[in-house]
């Protein structure tokens, strides 16, 4: 244990760099996935069939093993950053799009009715009423995706992707050597800390972006 502590002390800068890289690729993928998913949710939440189709496709993405998906993406996108982001976006879709649809559908019909009755057009209803009311649910979807992506991003090292996965993979390649345990443990610790950090950040964001009127 003490050996691991001294390892972390010695390699602190390196671990921090990897962690930041890891966080960056997750944030980029999450941002892209959020834009796509929320848009898809808005476009489909009133249409039963379209919504089901979108959910089914996003669901299939999520079931593809990450190794396989990354390997499949090598052919069109090569190695490194691009296939990593694309794969992460694909995994992040389902929780966000599902929560967007659920959130928009759970807005009280009486609220929509009164908004219509007051002369709000479709765009005004969406932007001023439906999205703000669905926001906590959508944000939960984004949070679930974020934590999930932090785990999956570690696998991206298989295609030379950025992040903490490279240390973990290095360690796994040197199983038996004394450095192996430290490498794997260091990478894993980084992933766990990052996941906790993201979770905390999302809780805070939720607090500050949700109206007091709909907070519990």
């Amino acid at each position: 244990m003490s050996r691991f502590v001294s390892y972390v002390e010695r390699r602190w800068d390196h671990l921090l760099d990897l962690t930041i890289e890891h966080a960056q690729v997750v944030i980029v993928a999450l941002a892209i996935a959020t834009v796509i998913s929320v848009s898809l949710g808005i476009l489909t939440y009133r249409r039963e069939h379209a919504a089901n189709a979108v959910l089914a496709v996003a669901g299939i993405f999520l079931t593809i093993p990450s190794f396989a998906l990354l390997a499949l993406l090598i052919t069109p996108l090569g190695l490194g950053y691009e296939p990593t982001v694309v794969a992460l976006v694909m995994y992040a879709l389902l929780p966000i799009v599902r929560n967007t649809i659920t959130g928009l559908r759970s807005v009280d019909p009486a609220v929509i009715e009164s908004a219509r009755g007051m002369g709000m057009n479709g765009r005004q209803r969406l932007l001023r009423i439906e999205l703000p009311l669905a926001w906590p649910v959508i944000l939960t979807g984004i949070r679930v995706s974020a934590v999930m992506l932090i785990g999956i991003a570690a696998i991206a090292a298989a295609v030379n992707g950025p992040g903490l996965g490279s240390d973990i993979f290095d360690g796994l390649a040197r199983v038996g050597s004394p450095a192996a345990i430290n490498l794997v443990l260091g990478g894993t610790l980084g992933v766990v800390v990052l996941a906790l950090l993201f979770d905390a950040v999302f809780l805070l964001v939720g607090r500050f972006t949700t109206s007091r009127g709909i907070r519990d």
Binding site: M118, N121, S211, I214
Partner: protein, 397 residues
């Protein structure tokens, strides 16, 4: 009706057939709604009354027929712009939970592009109007209000941009009876000043009689069974459907149409401090009543004293029956008065002015006389209308 002033709202051959349905929900409805009155659409559930109301602000588009507001055909104008000119209140209220009370009320004025100062002033004015302190409630959220307060905000929100027309779909339907009664009275008081044209949907004939200047009783397909004043609907129902819909006790319901201020009050022996046993005894003996009413220094009723109370050995402060709750103000209905009378100790209801000072009493006799008058008037009218009563179609327009 050709010489009547232009109606605020005119419905012409209004028809709605919902997709996939054979029978129209609203079937060729024509109706004029005069300015400044509360028009009640009342009928059994499924008769199309809510649909009719929603055809007016085009939340439902008519299959056929037209709607005119102040002579203007609004069947083809932009529906969102139309709705901003018409206040809308629904049973579930539908306040926006993520907005403060002030923001809820400000929605339509802001859409209409009012500047910030005007919006703020209007919000405060409306909160005052519905009896809520702006300082206290402006920044609150809907979940922090009671059901009655939410309904008040709902009404304030509908009136925000001062629309000439208000559509109200069972606005007091989801509120407990006591609060409902209070809100109804408040609303009537408000309407007395505002004189809006109000289309009010309910399934409750008692509410219709209480709130309506005119009532349209609707049958299946929004067919008008009778469109008339509450008095005439109660005394001369146009057909069997109306009779059945009013139900038993039309004369009892008629009591809600008469205010205490409309009848002659009876006298009752009263006494004020300092109370003197001898004087009280004499006063009671001279009257034909079994008790005296004690008033406080501002002539507000305090309690009843019977002869036995006066003869009792202890202090007069400790005896007697409280005057509450059988006390009404002149704007109460005879129905309210009768209700209190039945449970009061003396079989009477005390009438006070706004400040609570004693004015007189209403006795059962007074109410019986009134019922009699109404009945006699109805019989007379029926004789005049013979042979054959007025067909519903003639009353409709």
């Amino acid at each position: 009706m050709t010489d009547a002033p232009q109606p605020m709202i005119r419905l012409e051959g209004l028809t709605k057939v919902f997709p996939g349905q054979q029978t129209p929900a609203v079937d060729h409805l024509s109706m004029d709604i005069p300015e400044g009155e509360i028009i009640i659409l009342v009928g059994p559930s499924g008769c199309g009354k809510s649909t009719t109301m929603r055809l007016i602000n085009r939340l439902i588009e008519p299959t056929e027929g037209r709607v005119f507001l102040q002579g203007e055909d609004v069947t083809t104008v932009n529906p969102d712009a139309l709705r901003r000119r018409i206040g809308y209140v629904i049973q579930q209220i539908g306040l926006f939970p993520h907005m403060t009370i002030a923001d809820n009320i400000a929605v339509v004025p802001r859409m209409l592009g009012w500047d910030r100062r005007r919006v703020r002033a209007r919000v405060d004015e409306l909160l005052e109007t519905v009896g809520m302190d702006p300082g206290t409630y402006r920044g609150r959220y809907p979940k922090e209000l009671s059901g009655g307060q939410r309904q008040r905000v709902g009404v304030a929100r509908a009136m925000a941009a001062d629309p000439p027309i208000l559509l109200m779909d069972e606005p007091f339907g989801a509120i407990d009876p006591i609060t409902r009664d209070r809100l109804q009275n408040e609303f009537l008081r408000l309407q007395a000043d505002l004189r809006k044209t109000i289309v009010f949907v309910t399934h409750d004939i008692d509410e219709a009689i209480k709130m309506g200047d005119r009532i349209a009783i609707l049958q299946q397909g929004s067919k008008i069974a009778q469109y008339d004043t509450p008095e005439r609907i109660l005394t001369t129902p146009a057909n069997e459907f109306v009779e059945q819909f009013i139900g038993h006790g039309a004369s009892l319901k008629g009591l809600t149409l008469v205010r205490v201020s409309d009848v002659d009050l009876a006298e009752w022996p009263v006494a004020q401090a300092p109370l003197d046993r001898g004087a009280l005894r004499r006063q009671l003996a001279e009257s034909d009543k079994a008790s005296l009413l004690v008033l406080d220094e501002r002539r507000r009723p305090v309690k009843w004293l019977t002869l036995r109370d006066i003869e009792s050995p202890g202090s007069l402060d400790d005896v007697g029956l409280p005057a509450e709750p059988a006390i009404v103000e002149p704007n109460a209905t005879l129905h309210d008065a009768l209700d209190l009378m039945i449970t009061s100790y003396t079989g009477t209801v005390i009438v006070t002015d706004r400040g609570g000072a004693y004015q007189g009493v209403v006795e059962l006799d007074t109410i019986m006389r009134r019922v009699d008058e109404v009945r006699r008037a109805a019989v007379e009218r029926m004789r005049k209308d013979e042979p054959g009563s007025v067909p519903a179609e003639d009353l409709a327009l």
